[in-house]
Amino acid sequence: MNFEVIREYLPLYQEAAVLTVKLGVLGIIFALLIGLACALVQYYKVPVIRRIVAAYIEISRNTPLMIQLFFIYYGLPKIGIRTSPEVCGVAGLAFLGGSYMAEAFRSGLNSVEAIQTESAFSLGMNRVQAFFYVILPQAAATSMPPVVANVIFLLKETSIFSAVSLMDLMFTAKDLMGIYHDTTECLFLLVVFYLIILLPVSILGSLLERRLRYAGFGA
């Protein structure tokens, strides 16, 4: 291990890590929004749209991000939809993550029993109030562990961005290995940077899960 080399590469990796995190976080935010919208459509059984959402979830969950990105980046421009690599990465992550988040939210919403809604109505709340004051807080608690698991999953999936020539961590590592052959140092930095990004989220996730399991004890 040559620490001279590591110090030299550090800024390049930092830059790549910032890009990875930035696009990852953006994609995850969109995934959360799409997921919430889809879960609500399914929870309130909105006609017609519900079928579209169900089809979207099946398609998104049963195809790899790699081909989703290839289709968005190389396929769609042929019918006039041109995107930059950054937009493509975020769009792909949102498309993939939306369905995973939808499932997480749906399991949370379904865990709130019907009597809760009925009680809210009998207290004189309208549908909107019942949702925000009664259903959502309880559903959020149950969906939290799968949501955090999905966040980790999506952050890991950002490693595929290099396939559409985004200068992320994978791309930087492969590029540097190709030019300078400092394989050991490049791979070492790659692992370290992914640990820096993923370890805090993972630890947060297991803390949260323990806490919520405690909260649910005896229920």
């Binding site: 991000l65 790699m66 081909i67 290839f70 396929g75 042929k78 890991k156 992914y194 993972s202």
Partner: protein, 224 residues
Amino acid sequence: MPDLGLNIIFKGKNFARLLGGLGVALRISLIAVAISIPLGLILGILMTRKNPILKAILRLYLDFIRIMPQMVLLFLVFFGTTRSFGWNLSGENAAIIVFSLWGTAEMGDLVRGALIAIPRHQYESAQSLGLSPAQTQIYIIIPQTVRRLLPLSINLITRMIKTTSLVLMIGVVEVIKVAQQIIEANRMKTPNGAFGVYLFVFILYFLACWPISMAARYLEKKWR
């Protein structure tokens, strides 16, 4: 309407080549699953043991594998072993090693989860009925564990198939790589071929994974 390349899929041997590419992806994932399931069972059972040193080592393995993106693991094995040990692994073998390591970790975690989810009173009731420890395992514990595990392990197969799309990045010629080759070969006559060919690969992946997902969901509902 421009030519979007849906016809080049059926030109010459292209269709067979694409299916062959999918075959490579499926082969890698099925071999990896076949290795992962037995090793995962052993790992899961070992993880429920009380030995702290064993537990710490297994925990470290599990957490490292599960926190690293599979792409990083592929790079570590494919490029790292060449540098460190002088191995000359083919892309496909590196992929099988990585996916087996990853699958074993995932499967081990599922097995551990299923085992600790069985309430203590199941063991105690079996004992009070006069069953021996071996009988308890065979008649009480294993049937319940299998019910919890089977849908999850089937899902692991679809995850494995989806993850094999990564092997493209270490130079294995699988379905996306074949698609790239076909698009390149027809660049002059069908410049918009990327749309149709990638759409087709998209559908191929869906057709490979969807029935398996459906089977897992069916079992999950039936055995709840």
